[in-house]
Symmetry: C2
Subunit: 415 residues, 2 copies
């Protein structure tokens, strides 16, 4: 099994007490797998399935907010009961986006035949796609692949599933953790993909999460909503919101351990899920197309929308990203991005620090140890903090650097 090196190595992630990473595999009650259907010219795996084998799976889902949504997103939102998803069917190699009525028909056909093959209602099967935009998707090879998978999926299928959902990803993004609750241990597994077209709102990313804890529908929805906001909604590779983003949580209940609403267990489970999704989100940034360093910007001030706008403006600035890439402590670009995000506020008394070294106080440069600073901005993870007037609000974003590899990948990745 491929080792997922360092998913929890980031200094910005820490599993709560009672939670620990385990080797992999799906929680009880789930089977999965992946297969090559010929959508990727390379012949790599490109169709994956995760099935909740029991019949009382609860679920929750979140989707891209883009005005241009891929056919599988429209079909899943339209035809699924989102609290009752029992299986996900995913293809990579083709996003089935900007494909019009034919694309909708293809997504529906895949959903229909998958429901038959997996013994489910149509409304229980979510369909997802990722890959190039604007190319018609022939449903037949995907349908045949799902038929074949239906007989072969198993509890060790998370690795093949992970490979089947990847596109430009340089490494796998999956983990399984065990969490101790008052009623016993539960397991959470997650598989994510994403490396480009990533924006904090959320990203060209897919993430599928399975647990054998028993969750009420509202608890699943609440926990997923909160943790997505703190993870996939907080990352930027290139500021580009995708047409296909989907996150789906499924809970089998097969551990027999319930997570009751507003209990200590809910907090513990929520914290573990939170750190797991943050770790995956940061790994997407780390895998940001051509990325070599990861930055985190934290903005504090007295006005919620402003701290949010400034954090996103810094995270999306190509000038900040190229400076991060070059290991260059060019904090003037942080001040510039901040100012751009709050027009009409001049003169804005902005504070800027990098790695705890104060560089600008109330809009004015302050003396600092330049060699110390130069060393710290060459680390794998670099921390930026911005202060705006007032206090009480805080926003953070994680972002990749911008280097030649991003250009190489994106100038050559064609429709």
């Amino acid at each position: 099994m491929t080792r997922i090196a360092g998913l929890f190595d980031s200094r910005w992630v820490e599993l709560p007490e009672g939670a620990r990473e385990v080797a992999g595999g799906l929680p009880t009650g789930f089977a999965g797998g992946g297969i090559a259907a010929g959508l990727k010219p390379s012949g790599a795996l490109d169709v994956g399935v995760i099935l909740g084998e029991g019949r009382d799976v609860t679920s929750a889902a979140r989707f891209t907010r883009s005005g241009v949504q891929a056919a599988p997103v429209l079909v899943t939102r339209e035809r699924c009961r989102l609290e009752d998803i029992n299986a996900v069917v995913v293809n990579s190699g083709n996003a089935n986006a900007a494909t019009g009525q034919a694309g909708i028909a293809a997504a529906e056909a895949i959903q229909e035949s998958a429901a038959r093959d997996l013994g489910l209602e149509l409304s229980q099967v979510a369909v997802c796609s990722t890959g190039v935009i604007g190319v018609p998707l022939d449903p037949a090879p995907v349908q045949a692949a799902v038929s074949q998978l239906a007989g072969t999926i198993d509890a060790a299928g998370d690795e093949a599933f992970q490979q089947a959902i990847m596109t430009t990803d340089a490494f796998e993004k999956r983990a399984s953790i065990e969490v101790e609750l008052s009623g016993g241990e539960v397991w959470i597994s997650a598989q994510a993909k994403g490396a480009g077209m990533i924006q904090p709102s959320f990203a060209t990313m897919l993430c599928f999460i399975q647990t054998d804890a028993r969750l009420e529908e509202q608890t699943a929805d609440l926990l997923l909503g909160v943790t997505v906001k703190r993870s996939f909604d907080r990352i930027s590779v290139d500021g580009q919101l995708s047409t296909n983003d989907t996150v789906i949580l499924m809970a089998s209940g097969d551990s027999g351990v319930a997570v009751e609403p507003e209990s200590e267990d809910e907090k513990t489970f929520g914290r573990a899920l939170d750190e797991l999704l943050r770790a995956l989100a940061i790994s997407i940034v780390r895998d940001g197309e051509g990325s070599e360093r990861v930055g985190r910007v934290t903005v504090r001030g007295g006005h919620g929308p402003s701290v949010e706008r400034v954090a996103r403006a810094v995270a999306n600035s190509p000038l900040v990203k190229t400076a991060l890439h070059g290991g260059d402590p060019n904090w003037g670009r942080i001040a510039q991005a901040a100012g751009m995000a709050v027009p009409g506020s001049a003169p804005l008394p902005v504070d800027v620090a990098i790695e705890g070294i104060q560089l600008c106080v109330a809009g004015e440069a302050v003396p600092h140890d330049e060699s110390e600073l130069a060393e710290r901005v060459r680390q794998a993870e670099v921390e930026y903090t911005v202060g705006l007037p007032g206090d009480g609000h805080e926003a953070e974003c994680f972002f990749s650097d911008l280097g030649n590899e991003y250009i190489r990948i994106n100038a050559e990745y064609t429709t």
Copy 2:
């Protein structure tokens, strides 16, 4: 004299009838020049002055809307009568931004001594800076340079002035045109700088325009406002709004030819000024750090704010920019950027065409001649059009591609 090759060669610019490009030099009533004050380590020219020699110059100005504004912007806005600017004093090599009270004091000191040296009121001298952010600016060498320039500036000084205001610019951006009005010929000259930190709102750019036409204050302000909105407010290199952007128009009246409000002459003069500023704005995009191709996106639809947002989203998308760089007709990224700009509108029936070749109609890919398309996206200028539902509104943006040179320049250009 350096030939400014092809400023009016863009297919998106056309001088109106009665206007023609002339060889260079300043309009009657103006003197200018540039000198090396040691701010640029290279020893290149870095302080420039343009002086209206008469005493009844009218003027108009526009500034960055950033919340973080450089000291010279704050000082010029605070202490100048913007309709009565008789001289501009510009330094490159240091932006005098994020420099606090000391930066304000430096900008004021430069303004004060320049006013004495040039025989003007303090309120008649605009000060501008461009270069690195967050480094204290010693006013003394700038003051000495202006003193020296005061005795040597002349009507042929636009070339030296141009060189003194450049930073990462790869080529000069200046032109002089002659315009035939009913009362005789007038001359308009302009010098611009800008290559990075460029965003359609407007840009890290400076532009100084001189004319010997006689303009009323309101006419100067109206014409500058309209033409800046259609030029420097419509370009994106990297989506980054600067702290220092300044555009200043000065009219000496020395031709004796008046441009009367609401006259045919006003239209002719306005059209010529418009094409001149658009040509300079496009040349900033063409010089976008490392740029090899220029794109124009035109968005049409029934809702003003939406067409505007979509045009800016396409122009600022690193995915669209890298595709332009690679000569890649990746129109799916145009649809994706459009969708991102109008969240909550799914399914959005978007139309996309490149170089007049229709690729997507009402959200669905349509067949097209791929070899023809592949050839057209490899031109120096590429035209994108996006259609949203409805009609009556239109917005355009010009943008550079994103290539390795941008990374090289910006990962290495340090504070």
